[in-house]
Each structure stands twice: as C-alpha cells, then as structure tokens.
Amino acid sequence: MDYGMLPISNAQLTLSLVLILIAGLVSAFLKLGLLKSLVWGTIRAFAQLMLIGYTLAYIFEINRLSVIIPIILLMCLIATIEASKRIDAPGQKLTLLTFSALSASTFLVGIIVVTVIIGPEPWYSARVMIPIFGMILGNSMNAVSLALDRMYSEVRSHAAEVEELLCFGALPWEAIKIPARKAIKAGMTPILNSLMVVGLVSLPGMMTGQILAGADPREAVRYQFVVMVMIAAAVAIGCLIVVGLAYRKMFTPDDLALTEDMRHSH
C-alpha cells in the first residue's frame, strides 16, 4: 500500500478560500454581522500558521536544547495567560501558580515521553519535543483552568460548609477537601471522556494528521495511545499541583480562616 503525503500547492491553497466564501455567504444572508470577523480571522489564521510553519522549520534546523527550552517556557507562559483568563476569581493573583502547575506537569511528563518512550536521536529532537510538549500543554491548560475555576466556585458557594469544618478544628486542607476533589475531577473529566470514546466517536487530530501525512494507521494509533495516556498523566499532575497551590490563597495567613473574597459570592 502506498502511504505518501500529498502536498498542497499554492493554487490549491487559494482554492480553499472558496470555503470561507461559503461561510461568508451564510453570514451575509442571515445578517449575522460576522463578515468582518470572518475576514480578519482568516487572515490571522493564515499569517499565524505560515509564521509558525517557517519558525518550526527553522527551529528544527537548529535543533538545540538552548533554543527549545525557552520556546517551551514561552508556550507555558502563553498557556498560563490564556488559562488565567478563563478563571472567575476576581482579586486573585493566579498567574504564578498556574505557570508553576503547567510547566511542572508539562516538563515532567514530556521529558518521560520523549526520552523513555519515543527516544529520538538526539533525545531533545525539536521535531519530537515541540509537538509533544505542545499537546500536553494544550490539554493541561484546559484542565488547569477548569479545575481552578471549579475550585473557586465550589468554595464560594459552599463557604458555610468550609467554615463549619474550620469551627470543628479542621486544618485548611481538611476544610477544603470536598471542593478540591470536585475541582480535580472537573479538570480530569474531558481527558477521561476522550479515553472512553477515542477511535469510536472521534479520530484525534494528531492521528488524523499522521495518516494524512502518509503514516501507517497501525503506527499512528500507537502514537495516539501514548499521547493520550501522557495527556492524562500531565492533566492529573497539573490539576493536583494547581489545587494544592491555590487552596492556601483562600485562607488568611494568620488565622487560617476563609478570606473575605471567598466568603462573599460575586
């Protein structure tokens, strides 16, 4: 069987714009007022992808750890900013702890996958490291923001229960145990769901990509499996770290009582 990548020529690329025209027509026809966003979105997507395409080609060419690590840290930073935006916790400074959770879980699991499981030569091959770390990070980012958001909303809506436990002499971690469990569960649910349905309901993007690029589907599924379990591991670690770091901020430093922000729902 012939597994070969079919390249897309410039003409074919231009042709794909026809598809945007369809979306544009729908928008115009239904007066959705989305035309401007659609045009801008298309331009941005094209520019961003071209940029990253050429950048990646360049980085793969250099293939040096001193370049790869800063790039991954930058990715962690961008993921942190994105994750923080999605958390409803006014007055809380969560950037540092989100960054710590994301980078710790990503590096820990990413290094294990790259060195032990995939084992390219050299081990820090940018072609392997950047996509792998990127996939972990994308998923951890979602999980961490879900977990943190849930944690804050749970504690706020159950502040009376947390305080009741404190009144019985509970330490902060004991008082917060139920919300923390719910938060970690909320962060892990998406990956657990995908583990259940992968291959039946959806073919993951990475696997689809490999198949389109000419890989043997039997090889692609092996990669996909590794990717999914590594995501599950990173998500679990990331949620655990972020919840472990965040709960302390919900208590006053001297009296270990719930802070005012946590007692009053916004």
Binding site: E164, L165, C167, F168, G169, A170, D255
Partner: protein, 214 residues
Amino acid sequence: MPTFFAFHNLTYHIKPQNRFISASGSIQAGKALALRGPSGSGKSTTLRMLARLTSPASGEIIFKDQSWHTIPSTIWRTKIHYLAQMPVMFEGSVLDNLRLPFQLAHNKKELRFHLEDAETLLTATGLAVTILEQDARSLSGGEAARVALIRSILVNPTLLLLDEPTAYLDATAKQKVQALLISWLQQPLERAIIIVSHADDDIEAFPDVQTLEM
C-alpha cells in the same frame, strides 16, 4: 481574679460602608453573655471575630489568661466554638454528620464519639433517635438546627458562640433547647455561652445573664 474570657476593643472595618464595629466584653465561667442591638449593629460579626473566622482590624481576646495570638486558630476554634445561624448539613446521614468532627486530624487524638451521648442529646432536644439514620440534607430547618447544635456540643467546646440558635424552632423545641443549654452551662466543667438572639426569652432563659448592647 483570672480572666476566663474577655475581648477588648475588637474592631471590624466594614469597607463598603466605611463603618466600624467595635466591641468589648468579658464573661465568667458558668455564665451566659447576650449580645443585643439592632440588625447590622455587628452582633454576628463580633461572634465571628471571637471565633477567629473574621479577622478584626484591631483588638485583643484573652482566653484563660492567654492572649489569642499564643493559641493556634485551629485549636482555638474547637474551644471557642461558633455555631452559625444557618445550620450546615453535610452529605450523608445524621449520624455521619455527628461523627464528622471526630474524623478531623486534630480531634482524632483528643476526642471520641459516643453514640449514647448523641442519643441523649437528641432526646433532650425533642428529636427521635431514629433520625440518626435519616439523610441529613432532608431534615427540616428546625431539625437541622438541633442536629447542628448537638454536633457542636458533642465536641465539648469551652465557650459556645451561638448565633440565633432558636430561630428555626417551634415553641416546644425552643424550650427544650433552652433547657439543654442551661444544663450544659451548669456542668462542673468550665463553660460559658455568648449568644446573639432577637428572642428575648432566649436570653432571659439563662439565670443571671449579662448583656452587651452593641
């Protein structure tokens, strides 16, 4: 004379209204102190400050001649125990709820749960012993309020801070709870109660009760 429990110029700053609540008072062992005043005068906030659930801007609390700063807040709250007005019931049966405090790390070492004590208290407050098996979240307001009070008494605090303890109770249950609190005070152990209540009979039920106007 040694100080059993006293608080001096305990001040709280209500930021949105830029208003201050301030309270001073003291209480002897075996006695009850009632905080009185109109709504919004800071009675509940004072109780919360005494329980160290709300941090005061300034002030001092003395418990058995010791400054509050010398006692860790988690231990403090088991001795100076606050019972919120709205009863809090956790998932599980009433029995699970009564046992819950005994499962906390600090209490495991110091306290033991005795079913007979729980049953005695249930009967004293007019609840059937069979309620132990019931889902705690299905209790009526009056039942939950009594279960919450029993849970607080079972952990054997030294000072009970009660915020409207009879607000959810009918006349019969109310009398029983008042009688229970009075007999709890009269035990040979050193105990005291600070109570916030809009019901005069709650306050007057205690023999030689002191009042603090807020």
